[in-house]
């Protein structure tokens, strides 16, 4: 009898749990929208951002990108520890509340990297924090100088388009050199698209480049083209005034790793990047190269 009574009490407790959970989840759903930003909250944020539409906006958490539809400011969706954020110099962090998102952890990382925010604004459920910091920009980023390059494939010139944004080679429609935003490790990276063709080296020459101690190169296979490990690697060679100086091999796997190539001497030189592969299938190769300031860590 005692067992039966105990079981009855247990089941009565179960009733309360079932009904309690039902009530709590109902309330959770009905009140959920009050935790989300309203249009009014966004209006105030937009008003603030429009005061200077050149200031980037870092969204926290990374998925909260709806602000993109509202402002012309560059919206950056990167993890707080990402190295590209350091190149921004200043930015607004726009914080949207969300279950399971470690907002405080993200802000701690940002503060650890860039110091405490200089301004904090709360607009309803949205919070804006301004970070301002010194940034040591690279001495030269090659993709900013595409207009001055000469691109050749198999020795033949790949002519530039009228606006100098693309050098189109003659093999097929994807056979060109252009600055693009492409995906590496599911994140956006600005890089120089240079899809090689088998047997015809694709060379990109930048004249009158004031070189320093080294050239930093990040390179890899774009998006899903890096997933097929059976495809051929791509080789990138760096020549300075026609002298091979270094290079890298981008294997058939995802990623955008950094390679530092020491450069001899200083002065104005022609830097040539030559891209080759033994099999062009799905070799969606893209790279970013820059010359760091003297003494700057890569």
């Amino acid at each position: 009898m005692a067992d039966l009574a105990r079981l009855a009490w247990r089941d009565r407790f179960l009733t309360l749990i079932l009904i309690g959970v039902a009530i709590v989840t109902t309330l959770y759903q009905l009140t959920f929208r009050y935790f989300l930003p309203t249009n009014e909250d966004y209006s105030k944020v937009v008003e603030e951002l429009q005061k200077d539409s050149s200031i980037p906006v870092l969204v926290v958490p990374m998925w909260a990108e709806r602000i993109r539809t509202m402002v012309d400011n560059p919206v950056v969706a990167l993890p707080p520890e990402d190295r590209d954020i350091a190149a921004l110099g200043h930015f607004w962090a726009l914080v949207t509340p969300s279950p399971w998102s470690n907002v405080n952890g993200a802000l701690d990382i940002l503060s650890g990297r860039f110091g405490a925010p200089t301004i904090t604004l709360e607009h309803g459920n949205l919070t804006m924090l301004k970070y301002e910091f010194e940034v040591e920009r690279p001495k030269l980023r090659f993709l900013d100088h595409l207009a001055t390059t000469t691109v050749r494939q198999g020795g033949r010139i790949c002519p530039a388009t009228k606006d100098d944004t693309r050098h189109q080679c003659d093999r097929t429609w994807w056979n060109y050199v252009e600055v693009q935003v492409r995906e590496f490790d599911y994140l956006p990276r600005t890089c120089l698209w240079a899809h090689p063709v088998k047997g015809e080296p694709l060379s990109i020459s930048f004249p009158n480049i004031s070189i320093g101690e080294s050239i930093n190169v990040r390179a890899g296979m774009v998006g899903r083209s890096g997933l097929n490990k059976r495809l051929a690697p791509v080789e990138l060679r760096v020549d300075i005034d026609g002298v091979p100086t270094g290079g890298l091999i981008a294997p058939a796997r995802p990623g955008f790793p950094l390679t530092t190539i020491p450069t001899p001497g200083v002065g104005s030189k022609t830097v040539t990047f030559t891209v080759t592969t033994s099999n062009q299938a799905l070799r969606h190769f893209c790279f970013d190269a820059w010359i760091p300031q003297l003494g700057e860590a890569p």
Partner: protein
């Protein structure tokens, strides 16, 4: 849980029929908002081609069954049996082309809605057979009030139909085991299984599961019988019925197997044995290749089934496992083992590290009716604790109904919240869509949510604009146009480079498509989109005018 060798009560029969018709009517009205997912577009096409076989029959019946005609008509989408697609196609022909009653999409979907209604009816009957109408009602309503289920209920696809066939088979099998059962239940179980394998392959696992159930529950007694003949006679008639009627029904309903039967069936088996793996986002990782996490189906279930429903389901499952381990309540062991095996099998199958995991929860749908029945038993258990020990006491019934309603309210709210974007649905434990996005879970799949931005496109796209509909099948685009959901002059673009407008479906593994749109359209600012509780699902970019 008691075995009741009796006919269903009048109330149970009325409720079953009412559930079937109410579900069918409800789905007719709610399906208008549901876009055409990738697979469904393929099945529409297959249905059209298969139904065109009728023309061959009209011109020459002998020619229609020739190798050439059959091979030509049924080659397309040969990786799945033909029956559901034949039904989709014939329904479209009859109700749309001949009678002109419905639009194209509903014309194809009607048979699938019928299967969804049958699933509701048979889930109810199975639950009612096991523990009375309240359990049946709980399980049936619960089946519908899970947002992802409700989405799949609308589609001319195979997952809900095969789940319906699965439940029907188990129901008829259970009835065939009852004392003094009529032989027709065994025959029906064979026919239901045949229907199932004529829809989708995952139901091939069911007969072995039922044999295992019989062996575990009755095997010892059967073995103890004196002669070999007695032992053979003890084997349920349902098993030979499934063994004979199943393949027979498959063969008859799939004309493609009429020629080169062995080769073509072997190809079908091979196709599914070596199915490709599609990318799937799971806790921030994009899962591309096996081995996949064993916890995957359990975690996804825990994050997508409304918590109020999930709780009794889990309690029911764990409690019955505990009872089975303790050998408690031996008089209900037959049903308990049957429920546990069916509740766990599909989940455990997908948990195997090399089994494809794409498709959200649709591949373990056959587990859900049984989990819900276990959940219904928990509700009854809780309700009866306050009064007498049986549901015959009306106070217990009223309390059970009250608890059931309390559970169905948040489940219904969640389902309504996500309709028609069911592939984006996450529960309260996940923190709804924003929480799931923060956890790094798959945001959506199948592209059907694109319907949200079609009115904007129709209103704002310049004349003859080329639009890149990322992940949308071209066939879906054509159906949207023929239904007037996309303006007639809007043109299809194969890639962002050749488009003026890009409609991107957020998939982590396809982020590069969005970034390509930035480059090609020279903008990073979307003009509109579908943002569920702030989380981007569909994002629209247009080429700036200047």
């Amino acid at each position: 849980m008691t075995e009741r060798p009796r006919p269903h009560s009048k109330l149970e029969r009325v409720l079953a029929v009412a559930l079937v018709f109410a579900t069918f009517l409800l789905l007719i009205f709610t399906q208008f908002e549901v876009g055409i997912p990738r697979d469904e577009a393929v099945y529409f096409e297959a249905g059209s081609r298969y139904a065109a076989w009728v023309d061959d029959w009209m011109s020459s019946p002998v020619g229609a069954i020739s190798r050439e005609s059959v091979s030509q008509r049924f080659e397309y989408n040969r990786e799945h049996p033909a029956l559901p697609k034949i039904l989709f196609g014939l329904s479209h022909r009859f109700f749309v082309e001949y009678l002109g009653w419905f639009n194209h999409i509903l014309g194809f979907r009607l048979p699938a809605l019928g299967f969804s209604a049958l699933l509701m009816g048979f889930t109810f009957l199975l639950g009612a057979r096991i523990a009375g109408p309240l359990v049946g009602l709980f399980a049936a309503l619960g089946m519908m009030l899970i947002p992802r289920h409700f989405f799949h209920f609308h589609l001319a696809c195979f997952d809900i139909p095969v789940t319906a066939a699965w439940v029907m088979t188990v129901y008829f099998y259970l009835r065939s085991l009852e004392e003094n059962a009529l032989k027709r239940w065994a025959v029906f179980s064979g026919l239901a299984f045949g229907l199932g394998i004529s829809i989708k392959h995952n139901i091939y696992f069911l007969p072995p599961l039922l044999v295992l159930h019989w062996l575990v529950v009755y095997g010892r007694d059967a073995w103890a019988m004196g002669t070999f003949k007695d032992r053979v006679k003890a084997i349920p008639l349902a098993f030979p019925c499934m063994a004979i009627l199943g393949p027979l029904l498959l063969f008859v309903s799939w004309p493609f197997l009429w020629y080169d039967t062995v080769d073509r069936f072997a190809w079908y088996v091979q196709f599914h044995a070596k199915h490709v793996h599609y990318s799937w986002e799971y806790f921030g990782q994009v899962l591309d290749t096996p081995p996949f996490p064993i916890a995957y189906p359990f975690i996804v279930t825990a994050l997508t089934v409304p918590v109020a429903l999930l709780l009794p389901m889990c309690i029911g499952l764990l409690q019955n496992i505990y009872w089975e381990l303790r050998r408690a309540f031996p008089q209900t062991r037959n049903v308990r083992i049957l429920l546990l095996f069916n509740a766990l099998f599909s989940l455990c199958l997908i948990a195997l590290p090399n089994v494809p995991i794409f498709g959200g929860m649709k591949h373990w749908l056959p587990s859900m009716p049984f989990l819900l029945i276990l959940g219904g038993l928990v509700v009854i258990q809780a309700a009866t604790s306050w009064t007498s020990c049986t549901l015959e006491d009306s106070r217990s019934s009223r309390l059970a109904i009250a608890i059931g309603i309390a559970i169905m309210v948040p489940s219904g709210l969640l389902t309504a919240r996500y309709h028609p974007y069911g592939t984006s649905a996450y529960n309260e434990l996940a923190g709804l869509t924003p929480g799931a996005a923060s956890l790094g879970m798959q945001r959506q799949y199948w592209s059907s949510s694109v319907t949200h931005v079609l009115p904007w496109l129709n209103e704002n796209a310049p004349k003859d604009t080329k639009v890149y509909f990322h992940e949308v099948m071209r066939a879906s685009f054509r159906w949207y146009k023929s239904e007037g959901l996309i303006r007639a002059d809007i043109r299809w673009a194969n890639d962002p480079a050749s488009s003026d407008i890009v409609v991107y479906q957020y998939h982590r593994e396809f982020r590069d498509h969005e970034f390509q749109a930035w480059t090609m359209l020279k903008t990073i600012r979307p003009v509109t989109g579908l943002y569920l509780d702030e989380v981007p699902q569909i994002i629209v970019y247009t080429r700036p005018v200047n």
